[in-house]
Subunit: 203 residues, 2 copies
DNA sequence: GTCTATAAATTGATAGAC
DNA sequence: GTCTATCAATTTATAGAC
């Protein structure tokens, strides 16, 4: 193995460990010593790959964004019908229901924590981009149906807000049932609203 | 002034200061030294009123609950029609739009932070109760209309989730417009769903 | 590039005078 | 009840050997 490869591997391992710990504990509760231990890297070595704790957090967010884009691409590949793509978005939390009940949404909870920093901070902007990725993609799907640009943005905002709010509630109340029931209600409400404006459904 | 009064006043002042700081910075980012300074109380004195930082946080949550109950009572007093009460719930964030865009929902963001603790922790349970207060009250209003018990719980969950999700999005994206537009869409969607099941509207 | 040791700063909590 | 001084632990970050 080339040295450069091993180095990248360690860096990637740090990001992996940090992603997991930030999800379960949040940024503030997570120490670099914990990340280093989980990644099996000495503490001092962390600073070789990331200048500060903040830089590591930025890498974690970038990794989340990358995963999201891959996920969206996979759904687009799997379903030609934008309605089915949106359906996947709504029901995706069910695939990790236990984690969401215990730790919340990996993206939503991180955004909530990071948004409370000064607006100019790099981490605050990164958090904004992360949720924005959801809204943008959802809006694209509505756009591919019969919705105008403004209506698509509004519907996408409604949808992402409903999903995020549901995960927050399910997390705070520690209720897997609530998560399942409410996501399915969102799924139904979105189909209702699309039925009205998309006759193709009966074509 | 009796000593007991002055003592209670200082305690109350600490809770007030902590409430404000927890809203703007979250629990982890807020130090007891900051709270003490904002309340104009020496640091060491804080521990006379609250045994630990956690105890202070519990007092803050209890204060939030109390405020919520007062708010709900005021709305119930002002409007005999449950529909109008729910309308107040949905649009209430607009009265503090600037704060929500900058710091998020005072209750939602606190719940998100505290829910990530071990489930058994007193603070985690307190956070759950806080959001539960919203859902319970909303469910009562639906119940007072023509909704059955299960449907009322479901509608209340949808509503609170939509409101919370909207505030999260508006906070993360720092958009006051998004907050206003989406809350009004929630208002409309709830009226639509109630129209269908509450003929009294046309009586 | 890797790792140990440690500096520097922060912060929750306590001791003890008044 | 009130307040100063300080402890003890934690944690970000760096120095410097290898």
């Amino acid at each position: 193995m080339p040295v450069a490869y091993a180095a990248s591997e360690k860096r990637a391992e740090l990001v992996r460990a940090a992603t997991e710990l930030l999800y379960r504990q949040g940024l503030q509760h997570t120490t670099l010593a914990e990340v280093a231990e989980a990644a099996q890297v000495p503490l001092g070595n962390v600073y070789y790959y990331f200048k500060t704790k903040e830089a590591l957090a930025e890498a974690v967010i970038a990794s989340h964004e990358q995963s999201l884009r891959l996920q969206f691409a996979a759904w687009a590949e799997a379903h030609g019908d934008p309605r089915k793509r949106l359906r996947r978005l709504v029901l995706a939390p069910l695939d990790m229901a236990d984690g969401i009940v215990e730790y919340g949404c990996p993206h939503g909870s991180l955004c909530q924590e990071l948004a409370k920093l000064v607006p100019g901070a790099p981490l605050a902007k990164a958090a904004s981009r992360l949720l924005g990725t959801y809204v943008d993609w959802a809006a694209e799907q509505f756009r591919a149906l019969e919705c105008g640009p403004r209506e698509s943005r509004a519907l996408a905002g409604d949808l992402v807000a409903a999903i995020q709010g549901t995960m927050l509630l399910a997390h705070a109340m520690r209720s897997k049932d609530l998560l399942g029931h409410q996501l399915r209600r969102i799924e139904r409400s979105i189909e209702d609203s699309l039925v009205r404006r998309s006759p193709r459904r009966h074509a």
